[in-house]
Symmetry: C2
Subunit: 216 residues, 2 copies
DNA sequence: AATGCCATTCTTGTATACACAAACATTGAC
DNA sequence: GTCAATGTTTGTGTATACAAGAATGGCATT
């Protein structure tokens, strides 16, 4: 538990939303949450305000707080921005690569290879996250890294859905290989291009996403 | 005044920070702010929590809230990300341009021409903002637009400093012309490239920034 | 004279209480 | 029978009070 009840609650509720325990559109009642976490209403309100400021929930006066439902179109837009930011991270990483970052990328990349080879989509989901985070870190831009991590978190539930799609595991890993090659070769433009298409959701992948969202 | 005191205060304090009334490093005392705005401490805390969640201030447990001092390096990183996002907005705008957006861009562009011609850097500062917002809107991506506006707001004070630099007004306007041409020609890649260099701060412009920050 | 410890004060953090607004239901009138 | 108005209940919004922790200053001791 964090040093501060409000902040702890914020993280707790944020995780509950990102892990789909609280689904989009769901009403978040202050007293219910207060009872559930064994605190008074005040820190709950503080946490909700912060989540509202971040954009995860919406507090409408006298209507209560509800989890924001982004909808397929907005999800697409978010992936579009994510692709752009990851592309930038990749191109910076290619230029600024040092040994530490290189080792981190190599390590997470080979973990991806293992879980992809085993067809373990849950393990790959986790290793993939580490791989991308290693690239953010390699960009050597703290701000960019923070932005990427934040967006990555918000897109997490949908990314998980995507991995369920047939053959996506091996395709994803092959793309990783090319990305690693480009970064290690110092080819920033190529790394950017590859990451943009790797992260973005074009054509059929968008309909896969919509379909899996609807199936939920 | 907004429908909600906490939210109103958040905007109020945010503006005070972005207009450099509260400078980086400054301590924000809850009771002082409460007295100043004629409200109790509770809504002030709510506002501060939200600003903390956004990343404008930092609340350290039992140490109070201070305005975050980004420092030159982080400012540079923020401009770097901004350049990337604006590039994306420009490339999408070039692809998706419709009459409404085209008119909005043309209108704000000619206002820039007037204020640049008159050498009125304060007017240009405002018109320039509208010009860039018109491009965000033309991207037809709500999420991208929101991200751009938010970052634009946070970088506002530094952008203002930059415009003071000699000849920057006319240079900036010439760049705008090329950007408009590329977007209207439907040349997304060119619009992206031009916006990236227009917004980013390379070489001497970075030292200009650092110098003007130090002079403050 | 310097350093360490204790106490006091200030500030944040949490909870409770009170007030206001909105929505829904019930009753009365047309 | 239907519509409107009023009252009650529920839930949000704000403020105040109380508690806990951290920092600073002073005093005492070495």
């Amino acid at each position: 538990m964090s040093e501060n009840v409000g902040r702890w609650l914020r993280d707790e509720i944020e995780n509950a939303i990102l892990s789909s325990e609280f689904v989009p559109g769901e009403r978040l009642d202050e007293t219910v949450l207060a009872n559930r976490f064994g605190v008074s209403r005040t820190p709950v309100r503080e946490a909700l305000m912060q989540l509202d400021a971040i954009g995860l929930i919406e507090i409408r006066p006298r209507r209560g707080a509800v989890v924001i439902d982004p909808g397929p179109h907005r999800i697409y837009e978010m992936f579009e921005v994510m692709a752009e930011l990851e592309g930038l991270a990749g191109s910076l990483a290619a230029r600024r690569l040092d040994k530490t970052s290189r080792d981190a990328i190599t390590a997470s990349h080979s973990r991806c290879e293992q879980s992809a080879g085993a067809g373990d989509s849950d393990a790959y989901y986790y290793d993939n996250e580490e791989f991308h985070k290693a690239i953010y870190a390699a960009s050597r831009s703290d701000f960019l890294q923070e932005q990427c991590v934040q967006l990555h978190r918000r897109l997490r539930p949908y990314r998980r859905l995507q991995l369920r799609v047939r053959n996506r595991l091996s395709t994803s890993f092959l793309e990783h290989c090319a990305i690693v090659d480009a970064i290690f070769a110092g080819n920033g433009d190529e790394a950017r291009r590859l990451l943009r298409t790797h992260v973005g959701i074009q054509g059929e992948r968008f309909s896969d996403l919509v379909a899996s969202m609807a199936a939920r």
